[in-house]
């Protein structure tokens, strides 16, 4: 059986989570690989959450917020816009491939877009293979 990546998705309550709900009410099907965690605003997403998800065995992490300028809290998503690029650079230094962490803007009306993003990310991660984190840490535990 082919490898099925597990993706943890952090979605802001007002745009992206509502968008994901819309995908549901519109019955737009997408890959079952994503596990959504709702936060009030993408600005609540501490980079620690992303790393924690990877450390706990996620193959990918998807971060979604309102489109720039449309934040329910007027500028929360700008914080996310500032945090993610440096986080991705740091994760690259820690050996995490770029595709594993993804930032997308999804509005409440973009159910289709959310579905497409999940499908696309799932496909890319299938090709990329499982996250190295678990294996490596397990390996360390085995033999120092």
């Amino acid at each position: 059986m082919s490898f099925e990546p597990k993706i943890v998705g952090f979605l802001c309550n007002w745009c992206s989570y509502t968008g994901a709900d819309l995908a549901g009410t519109s019955r737009i099907h997408y890959a079952p690989n994503v596990r959504v965690i709702r936060v009030m605003c993408s600005a609540r997403i501490d980079p620690t959450f992303v790393i924690k998800a990877l450390a706990d065995g996620a193959d990918g992490v998807l971060v979604c917020g309102c489109h720039p300028g449309d934040c329910h809290y007027s500028e929360g998503n700008y914080k996310t816009m500032r945090r993610m690029p440096l986080l991705k650079r740091m994760l690259a230094d820690l050996g995490i491939e770029d595709e594993r962490v993804r930032l997308e803007w999804v509005s409440a009306s973009e159910g289709k877009r959310f579905a497409d993003i999940v499908d696309d990310m799932t496909e890319r991660l299938r090709e990329l293979g499982p996250s190295p984190v678990k294996m490596v840490l397990a390996g360390d535990a085995g033999e120092r």
Binding site: P47, T48, I51, K52, R82, L87, M90, L94, G95, V133
Partner: protein, 321 residues
């Protein structure tokens, strides 16, 4: 030999020796210690043998102070030995506490380290192929050396630790405080960090803080540093906000940004990630390109953010193959 004196041992694992110097830094006080205690093991200062420790009853030692990280089998063996023989085991200094500077080696791999050091080091004689092996036969006899681990561990990765004394090195007054505490027997809850504050360095930092908006990051030598203003507000990356205070804010007060040697505060699970979150949040731009330009001013961020805490971070090491 029986004695009513305090039985203590000090040991250095994968360390630079700075922590031992810090102990010596306690100056005349160390003589009081010597007077009050039998120092059974202290490789850097007194002549004690592992065998003597191995010969001890379990718990015969009152206090073992371990500095340095765990990089090889010997480090681990002695850590286990001291744990068994000592009532209290203290992780002393950043390396034992969090992995410290040696922990930065986790950003690369054992093979790379060995090949750099033993195969591609410019100071090697041409064509040298000698790699350190745990066992090697030299004219008939077998030599063994400790095995070099795949990565660096902090002390409590290999043995349970009673107390942590942070710092690279710990401030001498705190060394004193810890020793006095042990002598006096008034100890906090097991597992706690002693000789440090529960607030971030900024609490003790004398520099004036105001609202933060960062348009450009500078290395300290790039600008004339305002002696009174918060370094971060001047665009100098400072780990103060994510670092326990207790050092007396020595670096910032001398114009050098905090490097975070005292480690994260309770509740912060990943010092590097937290620093990243805090610092990027106050970048003063809403334009992706500009943001990219601004963070270009933070080269090797992982190296800075995890300077002392790589092995204690969530990922513990680089997972790149």
């Amino acid at each position: 030999m029986a004695s009513d004196k305090l039985q203590i041992a000090l040991y250095w694992g994968s360390a630079c020796g700075g922590c031992d110097v810090a102990v010596l830094d306690t100056d005349a006080f160390i003589l009081d210690v010597a007077a009050a205690a039998d120092i059974r093991l202290w490789p850097i200062a007194v002549d004690g043998k592992y065998a003597d420790i191995e010969a001890m009853e379990d718990g015969e030692l009152d206090l073992a102070i371990y500095n340095g990280a765990v990089r090889n089998s010997e480090n681990e063996r002695i850590a286990k030995l001291l744990r068994a023989k000592s009532k209290l085991l203290v992780a002393f200094g950043s390396c034992a506490h969090l992995g410290g500077i040696p922990g930065l080696a986790n950003l690369t791999s054992r093979d790379e380290i060995l090949s750099t050091a033993y195969l591609h080091n410019p100071s090697l004689e041409k064509g040298s192929k000698t790699l350190p092996l745990p066992e090697s036969g030299v004219n008939g006899t077998t030599l063994t050396i400790p095995s070099f681990y795949k990565r660096v561990y902090k002390l409590d990765d290999v043995v349970p630790v009673d107390y942590y004394v942070p710092g690279c090195p710990p401030a001498f007054d705190q060394v004193q405080a810890v020793l006095e505490a042990v002598v006096g027997g008034d100890l906090p809850a097991v597992g706690s960090v002693v000789g440090a504050s529960d607030r971030a360095l900024c609490d003790d930092c004398a520099r004036v803080k105001s609202e933060k908006r960062i348009k450009h990051f500078y290395r300290p030598w790039q600008i004339m540093i305002d002696p009174d203003a918060c370094l971060l507000e001047q665009g100098i990356l400072c780990a103060g906000p994510v670092t326990r205070s207790g050092c007396g804010s020595r670096c910032p007060s001398s114009g050098i940004p905090c490097r975070g040697c005292y480690g994260p505060l309770d509740g912060v699970v990943d010092q590097g990630a937290k620093l990243l979150s805090a610092v990027t949040s106050v970048i003063d731009s809403t334009d992706p390109e500009e943001i990219d330009r601004i963070i270009d001013g933070l080269p090797d961020f992982a190296g800075f953010a995890y300077r002392f805490s790589m092995p204690s971070s969530l990922l513990q090491r680089s997972v790149g193959q």
